[in-house]
Symmetry: C4
């Protein structure tokens, strides 16, 4: 039995969650889970429908994109996952989807404004939308450069990946991450929910104001601050 059995299982279950949460159609998404000790991550195989996916299909890859275990080709987005794991030491899982409202904002090339407490319960910034890459980066090592693009976006906007656990790639779609694969999926769903609510908010009131700072701080801190009192 593989030493990565538990990692594959975690990755498999998180991928299946994507499907149950209506965040994907067909094969338009993938989740990975990392094993920091062994310097590898488990990721969905490319193009395998969720109805057919099995835990043993999950591929084990290292941070330099070498396949360590598995018969199948890993997700075409594997290099983006690897780049993020390599540069962000405190994340344990990554999810990528083509969820409808998230993609719509990405295609609109707009950050999702923080309009309410649903958003502020999870992060204090607008959800960033990274600009589409320069042509030579797209034509080059595309998926690797996608990772660079995400980090550049966070640097430019002065965001912390530990607080802002999600990003939109302009004209493409969302990536989300977290302490493990399940949390990455959770953040993908939160992003989709905030994307839909923000869309509707602007339809009802195009001049809707950003949430005021005191409410952002209050809601974020009661869930994530040092005196947090949300949850058990």
């Amino acid at each position: 039995m593989s030493k990565y059995q538990a990692l594959k299982q975690e990755c498999y279950e998180a991928n299946m969650q994507l499907n149950e949460l209506n965040l994907v159609v067909y094969t338009f998404g993938n989740v990975s889970a990392v094993d920091r000790e062994n310097g590898v991550f488990a990721i969905k195989p490319s193009g395998v429908p969720y109805e057919e996916l099995k835990a043993e299909d999950i591929v084990i890859v290292d941070f330099d994109n070498n396949i360590i275990e598995g018969d199948k080709r890993p997700s075409s987005d594997t290099k983006t996952h690897a780049y993020l794991y390599k540069h962000w030491p405190n994340i344990g899982g990554i999810a990528h989807t083509h969820a409808t409202y998230s993609v719509a904002w990405a295609q609109a090339q707009r950050d999702i404004p923080i309009f309410g407490t649903t958003h502020a319960d999870h992060l204090t910034a607008d959800i960033p939308c990274a600009a589409p890459m320069a042509d030579h980066l797209i034509e080059g090592n595309y998926e690797h450069n996608t990772g660079i693009q995400i980090l550049d976006c966070f640097k430019e906007k002065n965001l912390s990946y530990e607080e802002v656990e999600m990003v939109l790639l302009g004209n493409h779609g969302p990536f989300a991450w977290g302490k493990n694969a399940a949390k990455a999926v959770y953040n993908s769903k939160v992003l989709e929910v905030c994307a839909e609510m923000a869309y509707l908010t602007l339809q009802i009131n195009p001049a809707a104001p950003r949430l005021k700072d005191s409410l952002i701080k209050k809601h974020y801190d009661r869930k994530h601050g040092k005196d947090a009192y949300y949850g058990q």
Copy 2:
């Protein structure tokens, strides 16, 4: 066995209804049920997913926010519930959600206009949206002050909590209440339905007129007036 077993069960079932009616994702909502005789209410524990929630997890709290029974921490919104129960003697249940269309109107900081009979079957006023609180109230006893904010809104707009059983908190989301927890959930759903219909109405006709007074009166009275003839 706890003397509050039946109350916990009522509260548990109403919370599970929120989930079945698609009014919540994850843990973004809570319902409480009051026991006026004993001066306590039952409320969902904080941050517990609906799939895992059990009747015995429900927490019993008094109107001064003391935990009377239960191993878990109650909902982070408990003080808002307590405040409403204390000041509105004729309500038996309260529900709070982050339902999509209700939140969108709250984020747009707009009252939901009474556009049709679906709305007038339940209340004769626009669904009020309370303004976001002043900063010092947010930074202070936030959830308690949220209760004050709701009562101030009703006073200012001259509304009766016995007729208008729902409110939007600006930039946050809806609270609804009623004679018991099930009715509070029902009103949460009615609010969400009216919120979606009003949104679509304005998209189709930005100049859509408010429902005329005679129709408001007719529909409200046939369900709630002294000569009501709706229902059994």
Copy 3:
């Protein structure tokens, strides 16, 4: 056993269909089925939730609104059904809902333009929206007068109830009818589908043109004309 058992069963099944087709929440809708020979119709009892509804709960009423059989109070909209049955001899069933998109157009007080073949497969006219009634008619015999309002609307717009089997009541919602109760429910769903498509069409292109006459005629006739070749 009641001589109206089969009629009650037809009515019951059609009401349950409303629910399965997502055309109602809670008790916001009702369907009736007529027995022309005996001059009565079967209709949903008022305010009974669909989960609890049973065939024996269905009420039998004559065209003058007398209860012929049944322990329960009939739908509060019964007089509208009676009026339509009395004046439109060739209909066998009527359905009333508060379906989301249909209500949105009713609240916007706009006819639904015939934009495509989905619409023309069923009728050749815009789906009419009857104006809200005058105050004295609302304050008077409201549900009876609602029937008058529908007939007046058809007269004014020169429409045939045998071709146009649906109407919106301004600020209220849709009524649909047909040769039997199942067909009335079918038409309620068709109306909702056309309402959603027309809404989206105008969002994408506010200047979207009405379907051209030759296509209206072609699609309507291939399903309903004397040389119809649709179906078995």
Copy 4:
């Protein structure tokens, strides 16, 4: 047993998929599957509800619209299918639906702009919307002329049916095709997904730019190019 048993089964399953993917209500859609060797195709019978459809109901027709096998009347759109099979030798299946967002764009008479990678993963062009036909073509051999209209649209826009496997018929709805019936259904779903995303994109940003050429090429090629690395 019919020599077309396997073909009927393929056609039946693809039709049922339409239903499961929420691309049809009632009978508003049809799928066919071709047998090139025998010069025939299997198609859904006209007006048969999906709940009642059985594999043996599927009708076998040749490219000149003669019924080769089957007791039922074939889909009223059969001549359009026949025309496409006759002129496009490399397709194996065709699907027609009245899916909501696809129809909305067709009714708006607009091509669906290529806004993102979800779209570019499948085709490099805007999804074309064929203009409604001239009156004399509608009044003539309508369904046959619909096939001509589609081919004329592709010729005029200089599109390849092997790359662009979908089209909107102005004021009507979508047709999609592919190497087999299942792929035609898949393309119908992809079209619907892209139609919804493009709609939302324009609502959020009416000036949203078309996807840049380098990204179109990159995403299409990684799935369909000679060095494709997507899938197994």
